[in-house]
């Protein structure tokens, strides 16, 4: 495991890993979170996920086949992951056509113009998500409340704010965090996913199960998720210790919003993260720090996607600073 990130001189043993295998492992790792979302938000989740994946694959196919007139590589699964992650980052009652715009943007603006898989500096799914968030602020922030599939309410869909939204509004109106606890879901609910939010991010436990699977398969390494979450925890912890009435408990920050999904699945994207161990630690720490800064002081209640994109932009610089040591030097 220690040697995982080091590249030594030849000869090399040929592993049986391939782009395809890695990508499909990520898809499998995302399935528990998908299952939880279907349980809480119902059929729309499946429809949105399938539409998002289909749009991503179709866009990539059309560009590769008709604009580049080259090989078509949509079966490598990278477009599937982009589609899945993008869908995971939207509310479950988002109109389908808006999600299709986002999926198109993810592939046709964030991925293919840079040269396709392996050359995109920004995580395509996050670019699609932020594009939608800025373009359709109303639809992207109307969160349906989770209702387990067998409970039938009077209304079709009840919407409500996310825990982070409740916190931001409450603190802005001068309420203390402790007064807001009655409005916030309990920690058990937040761990399981019984809270408002983008449908793939709600359940911390399901995401962690997927992340552990990826760690065992060695698709991702521990550096980025751990430094991301630890930095976020410590930094929000400092504020909590200074003034617990305006700043929430650090544990709250870890289980709400896109923190888990971002740290385990989006920041760890191989293409858009640094290559060396030191670089990964710095990258994760930067993501965690920026997320908490945006959450506490920014205009938006949630900052995971923005912070990962900002750190994506810094990756070439980080790679420059953390070059692997040349042999015999």
């Amino acid at each position: 495991m220690d040697k995982l990130l080091q590249v030594s001189g030849s000869p090399h043993v040929h592993g049986n890993e391939s782009v395809k295998k890695i990508m499909w492992s990520v898809v499998i790792a995302l399935l528990p979170a998908l299952a939880v979302s279907v349980y809480y938000f119902g059929l729309p989740v499946l429809i949105l996920t399938l539409v998002s994946i289909a749009t991503c694959m179709l866009t990539e196919y059309l560009i590769q086949r008709f604009m580049l007139k080259g090989n078509v590589s949509i079966t490598d699964g990278s477009a599937v992951i982009t589609g899945l992650l993008l869908a995971f980052n939207v509310p479950s009652n988002l109109p389908v056509w808006i999600l299709m715009i986002g999926a198109f943007v993810a592939i046709a603006i964030a991925k293919m113009p840079f040269g396709g898989l392996g050359k995109n500096p920004f995580n395509p799914a996050l670019v699609g998500r932020v594009f939608l968030l800025i373009s359709f602020p109303v639809q992207m922030t109307t969160w349906p409340k989770p209702t387990p599939v067998w409970s039938f309410g009077a209304a079709d869909v009840i919407t409500g704010p996310t825990p982070l939204g409740i916190l931001k509004e409450g603190v802005k109106n001068g309420q203390a965090v402790s007064d807001l606890t009655s409005e916030l879901p309990t920690y058990v609910d937040m761990l399981l996913g019984q809270m408002g939010g983008s449908f793939g991010e709600v359940s911390a436990i399901a995401i962690l199960i997927g992340a552990v699977f990826l760690l065992i398969r060695k698709v991702i390494t521990w550096e980025i998720p751990v430094s991301f979450l630890l930095t976020a925890f410590l930094f929000s912890g400092i504020f909590y210790l200074v003034d617990p009435t305006t700043y929430a408990n650090p544990c709250f920050h870890l289980v709400t919003g896109g923190m888990m999904l971002g740290a385990c699945f989006m920041a760890t994207d191989m293409v858009t993260s640094p290559t060396s161990r030191g670089g990964m630690l710095v990258f994760g720490a930067g993501c965690g720090l920026l997320t908490i800064i945006i959450r506490l002081f920014g205009a938006y209640p949630e900052g995971v996607s923005f912070s990962i994109l900002i750190m994506n932009a810094l990756v070439p610089l980080i790679n420059k600073g953390f070059k692997p040591r040349t042999y015999a030097k």
């Binding site: 715009i101 603006i109 113009p113 594009f131 800025i134 373009s135 359709f136 602020p137």
Partner: protein, 197 residues
């Protein structure tokens, strides 16, 4: 180079924004609608035409060491004129373009043409160059402005053809960069095709 060539090279072949990539700041900032883009383009064309003419007239009088400050003074004169004219006759355009009208003074295209063309060529050629580059700037701004207004607000020249908002990001700064990038890419692509054939 023929007279016609001097005039038309700025339209497409040496378009100041899309090929020379000069003057990107006003391009990104004012192209939120076609009206703003046209207003900015025409104002800059006027400044380019006048400053090119005057600088080429004075090119033998201006000492080489102080030529840049002298150019700026001449350009600033015409920018002040167009600024006051727009404020007087088109107050709504003046309020939507705001600071970017006075900022034509530091537009790279105007100074670039003064330095690269007007200070070395005859008055007639410089006037043609100024008009051509100005029209090229206006064309580029109008293309980018149209795309951004159609996608971002769902309207063209303030005529709305959808209800509600468009894809808001296109009227904001990120949309400007996206549309600008794709327009430059398209022009490069067309030029490479033309060269190949």
């Amino acid at each position: 180079m023929s007279k016609l060539n001097i005039l038309t090279k700025g339209f497409f072949k040496e378009n100041p924004v899309l090929v020379l990539v000069l003057g990107t700041c006003p391009t990104l900032a004012v192209t939120t609608s076609v009206k703003n883009a046209l207003g900015m383009g025409l104002a800059t064309t006027f400044v380019l035409l006048m400053s090119n003419a005057i600088i080429s007239l004075l090119k033998n009088v201006i000492p080489d060491k102080v030529r840049i400050p002298s150019f700026i003074v001449i350009i600033a004169t015409f920018v002040s004129m167009i600024d006051l004219l727009i404020q007087g006759f088109l107050p709504s355009l003046a309020s939507s373009l705001g600071i970017f009208i006075p900022l034509i003074v530091v537009n790279c295209i105007v100074l670039g043409r003064a330095e690269a063309f007007a200070s070395k060529n005859t008055v007639g050629d410089s006037i043609l160059d100024g008009i051509g580059m100005g029209i090229g700037f206006t064309i580029a701004l109008t293309i980018i402005g149209s795309v951004r207004e159609i996608l971002g607000s769902g309207s063209f020249l303030d005529y709305k053809f959808i209800q509600g908002d468009g894809i808001l990001v296109f009227v904001l700064a990120p949309g400007a960069f996206i549309v600008f990038g794709f327009t430059v890419a398209l022009v490069r692509y067309l030029q490479s095709k033309k060269k190949a054939s």
